[in-house]
């Protein structure tokens, strides 16, 4: 089977790659584009480690075929910092030690960014519901929730 050519915008850059029709977007990001931040925890939509923002919507990249991304705009964890300046969420995750093994962290950061982009000052309950699609087997969630709430405060002080 001939390989399919896909053109899309990833983290603000126009990117072209070749893939098989049955390659997932997650595998294309990792293996063809070289962005290995997004992780495969389950491959079945359960864990959210593969979370990306596709055309503005938080999405499991493990359940999208790469050809479906033709013309799409994709944001991965590699795209959330502002150059060398960490995103407030990255900063508060670091400061609050909101990770242990770190496999779930890229997915949590992207999911939390999707939340704060829409709702800059969520309540704790809103944070918990917004992150329900992300599983962490190490931290017990509490530090993650605190880090997201701290980043939301940061949003406030930035205006």
């Amino acid at each position: 089977m001939s390989r399919t050519h896909v053109t899309c915008t990833i983290n603000g850059d126009e990117v072209e790659f070749l893939c098989e029709d049955d390659t997932t977007l997650l595998n294309a990001l990792r293996d063809e584009v070289g962005l290995t931040g997004s992780k495969e925890g389950c491959g079945t939509g359960d864990c959210g480690a593969c979370s990306v923002i596709m055309d503005g919507a938080l999405t499991c990249a493990c359940l999208v075929f790469a050809p479906e991304a033709e013309g799409a705009t994709v944001v991965t964890v590699e795209g959330i910092a502002d150059g060398n300046k960490l995103h407030p969420l990255q900063q508060t995750f670091l400061e609050g030690a909101a990770l242990q093994c770190g496999v779930c962290t890229p997915g949590f950061l992207v999911a939390a960014k999707a939340l704060l982009d829409e709702n800059p000052h969520p309540t704790e309950t809103e944070v918990r519901y917004a992150l329900a699609g992300n599983l962490c087997r190490c931290t017990g969630y509490d530090k993650i929730i605190r880090a997201v709430l701290a980043a939301a405060d940061y949003n406030g002080s930035e205006g």
């Binding site: 049955d22 919507a57 499991c60």
Partner: protein, 316 residues
């Protein structure tokens, strides 16, 4: 996963004629990809409905709403008109899956998702529903399985929350076939128990495409769901209650049978449109009439009675 061709057909009306048992439609992919990865489905080609002009609009129509087949669960969840006018549907989608999945999952794909029975989903098991022989769940691990109609060949439950709400609301789907014919089908008639000849939970042919879902208004409606966890899980038991425009009360449960299950005994016990506390008590007690639970899932019966009570109280 076996290799396949990814195809785009810009005109939705031209899609059905291209479909065959091995050329299948792809919507949000949130169920189909999990099936492909488990080799439950081995298509030669997938036609991406999202690359076509298949409906994506949410329109007010006479007496209710018309949702294009590609409308996502998130859009339903956040639509103020649907939340006010068909709360059972909005509540069912809000409690289904996760934010990531609701952003992608379409309403038509949700109705046609396949069961989550762990034997069916296991690549190494070929149970009856997967085309093999026998039902290992019947004598095996069946805590998530059916409690009604359990003498059929399969005791898997239908995994959809919206399906139960749509049956309670009296919703219909519009179906376009490969010959260009269009028909309207009640969701209650779309979803049927699998049989030896047709081992799926719906009546659609290979060249049928759902183009829209039409939902009658029922501001007095609700969907309640019991889960292992506050969110993210499939229903252990769910109950949809809806009072139709002519005052009829319909009760439909999820998580208890091969299809959304009409609680006919409970409806009859209401004996009239007045949802008095006494009538609600009678109906809740009758919700489990005819149930025949398996070894591990008797716990579903009190859940079903309690959710029926709460749902009726909410719409009273």
């Amino acid at each position: 996963m076996t290799p396949f061709d990814y195809q785009r057909i810009p005109e939705a009306a031209a899609v059905p004629a291209q479909l065959t048992p091995t050329v299948r439609p792809l919507a949000g992919g949130t169920d189909l990809l999990t099936r492909l990865k488990a080799c439950l489905d081995r298509p030669d080609a997938l036609v991406d409905l999202k690359a076509s002009d298949l409906g994506r609009a949410i329109d007010r129509v006479d007496g209710g709403w018309r949702l294009g087949a590609l409308v996502t669960l998130s859009r339903i969840q956040h639509h103020p008109g649907l939340r006010a006018d068909v709360p059972a549907l909005a509540e069912a989608v809000s409690q289904a899956a996760t934010p990531q999945l609701r952003n992608r999952a379409t309403i038509a794909g949700n109705l046609l998702q396949r069961p989550r029975c762990w034997y069916f989903r296991n690549e190494r098991v070929q149970c009856w529903l997967a085309g093999g022989e026998g039902c290992p769940a019947r004598s095996g691990r069946n805590e998530h399985h059916a409690v009604f109609d359990t003498d059929g060949p399969c005791v898997a439950t239908h995994p959809s929350d919206p399906a139960a709400a749509l049956v309670a609301l009296g919703a219909t789907v519009t179906v376009l076939d490969g010959g260009g014919g269009e028909r309207e089908l009640a969701v209650a008639d779309l979803l049927v128990p699998p049989t030896d000849e047709r081992r799926v939970e719906h009546v659609l042919a290979a060249d049928d495409v759902i183009t829209a879902v039409t939902v009658p208004s029922a501001p007095r409606s609700t969907y309640l769901k019991a889960m292992d966890r506050a969110v993210w899980a499939f229903a252990l038991v769910g109950v949809a209650a809806a009072v139709s425009a002519d005052g009829e009360v319909r009760l439909v449960a999820s998580g208890v049978a091969n299809t959304p299950w009409r609680l006919a005994g409970a409806e009859a016990a209401l004996a009239g449109p007045g949802l008095t506390p006494e009538a609600i008590d009678r109906a809740a007690a009758a919700a489990t009439d005819g149930a025949a639970p398996l070894a591990e899932n008797g716990y579903k019966l009190p859940l079903l009675r309690t959710l029926t009570h709460r749902a009726l109280t909410a719409v009273a």
